[in-house]
Symmetry: C2
Subunit: 295 residues, 2 copies
DNA sequence: AGCTAACGTTCGCTAAAAAAGAACAATCAT
DNA sequence: ATGATTGTTCTTTTTTAGCGAACGTTAGCT
């Protein structure tokens, strides 16, 4: 014997308002029908959901429990209808990618490349903070989030982080600074531009400095890779960053890679929600990206 | 025009199996009825949920989205029915309290005291790690969690932390150690037992040490208050802990309070889920506890 | 206290929907 | 080709939801 979700829905509405008559009006059904349905639900569940106090309905202990579930259930239902109502995904396939704003643009482009020449799909790209993007992912407003850190999921947030790439990190500076000794010595006495204290690259870099008993002069802490690229190009300071970010400048010769930092990597993750039915397009994209980028 | 949850339910079942006929059999309805209902749902939502490929049904892009929501919805529905089926809360009121295992037993007892002499309610008390307890709270298997740290809630985890008490923290040691100078000086050259590095008490204590340019000798890091009590009693080391934990020993004179640490507190929180309809019992308990403990 | 308006419940009856069943079309395996 | 299998589309039957009037309470008013 299955739960009748229409009964539950009506119970939900009555519990919200606390009045049977008023709820019947808003639902455009009679009081009697509503009363009967709630009675049926109570019989189905085996215990009263309301305590009848005079001419008032108060939630019972069991009613409060049932209400919490009903609330969760129908809020999601309304979210679903709203989603389909507000435009509909029409025919063309849609893939919506969220990227942490500080992420390398080159990496983003590389990830999206397989999608760019496809006429039959619509691509949405949103930038923002990780928290905001994960919220959108949970609300099904994004299909995948690109980030430079992994996120652990749990029962209620079924996130899955998949590492796509691992870029070495180098000391990089303007070519006009002239030749430079390799890492431990080269940076002594020079200003450094490094990633912010929350990033994994910074952690690894700090550890490396400790090992070499080195306390470098930090000129600036920069989260945004694009900004760091500009600073590396236009100042006389050295930057700690993945060479791939300034690939163009390295080729052109305006910037020089003064050597990779051992054990320091920037990692890229694709974060998705565990779904029972994955979009074949997304699945293919993630597999493809792993192959391309992990080489 | 509202969403028909029975249609959605049938869609959910069909999508899970991928076969219409088989699903119709398990649902004990005819294929035709099932087919018709899914058609109606598609019309209601304004786009096809299945792609008809030959004699097979495959989820469309929109179908995958709808399925994710339906899955969340009906999983909760099944949880609800299971909850009512497995025994029912019957008549007596039930309150289920989760307490972080490392929390002071005295505090737990103080919190539960108003409930202990009530014959008309059933009390459940579970100990465990914070993560585990919060999971149970989300699943409605607990009504309140007692912890020594607050938890921030978000849209999906509607947790609410309420501070119940704030206990001063002292340097405490065996009386036989003899008199001791107050904090900054007294601890010099002595071993200390302190709370683990994750706790707020430890953080506050470390800050205090920095201010006084003090680097004390850490003998042990202990999370469990009951264990710390034993160590304080049975070793020659000083412990950083709230006096209330060893109230009995202080009265008996076996332990001595060598002075409160300024600005260091252990805080106790009651964590509940934001519910539209709170249990009056729980509400009363929390108000009562605040008054009693915050004095 | 006695009246009245508001509220929830119960009981037949009717309208709407869900489900069954038969006929049909498409696909796959042999 | 052909029969078995699967999904769709009809029409008919069965079940469920809903209506409205009568009824029983309760709270508020005079």
């Amino acid at each position: 014997m299955k739960l009748n979700y229409h009964h539950l829905y009506h119970f939900w509405q009555v519990a919200r308002s606390g009045h049977l008559t008023r709820t019947a009006e808003t639902l455009h059904i009679s009081q009697s029908a509503l009363s009967h349905q709630i009675r049926q639900l109570e019989e189905r569940l085996g215990q009263p959901l309301f305590v009848r106090e005079g001419r008032q309905l108060r939630l019972s202990e069991a009613g409060r429990l049932a209400f919490d579930y009903a609330d969760a259930i129908f809020r999601q239902g309304e979210e679903l209808t709203a989603l389909f109502a507000e435009g509909g995904h029409a025919h063309r396939e849609v893939i919506r990618v969220g990227a942490v704003a500080t992420l390398s643009r080159n990496f983003q482009e590389e990830f999206l490349r397989p999608l760019l020449d496809r006429e039959d799909l619509e691509l949405g790209l949103q930038s923002g903070g990780l928290d905001e993007l994960l919220r959108r992912l949970s609300a099904h407003r994004l299909d995948v989030v690109l980030a430079n850190q992994s996120v652990r999921g749990d029962d209620q947030h079924p996130w899955r982080s998949q590492r796509l790439a691992r870029q070495p990190v180098s000391i990089i500076g303007a070519t006009r600074l002239g030749p430079l000794a390799p890492f431990p010595e080269g940076v002594a006495g020079r200003g450094l531009i490094v990633p912010g204290p929350e990033s994994s690259v910074r952690h690894a870099f700090d550890r490396l400095c400790e090992v070499h008993r080195l306390s470098p002069t930090i000129i600036a802490e920069v989260d945004d890779m694009a900004l760091m690229r500009l600073l590396a190009r236009d100042t006389a300071h050295l930057a700690v960053m993945p060479p791939v970010v300034v690939r163009d400048e390295l080729r052109a010769g305006t910037l020089t890679d003064f050597g990779a930092l051992p054990g320091v990597f920037e990692e890229f993750y694709a974060i998705t929600i565990r779904r029972r039915f994955e979009s074949p397009l997304l699945k293919q994209l993630l597999e493809q990206s792993s192959e391309l980028l992990l080489q």
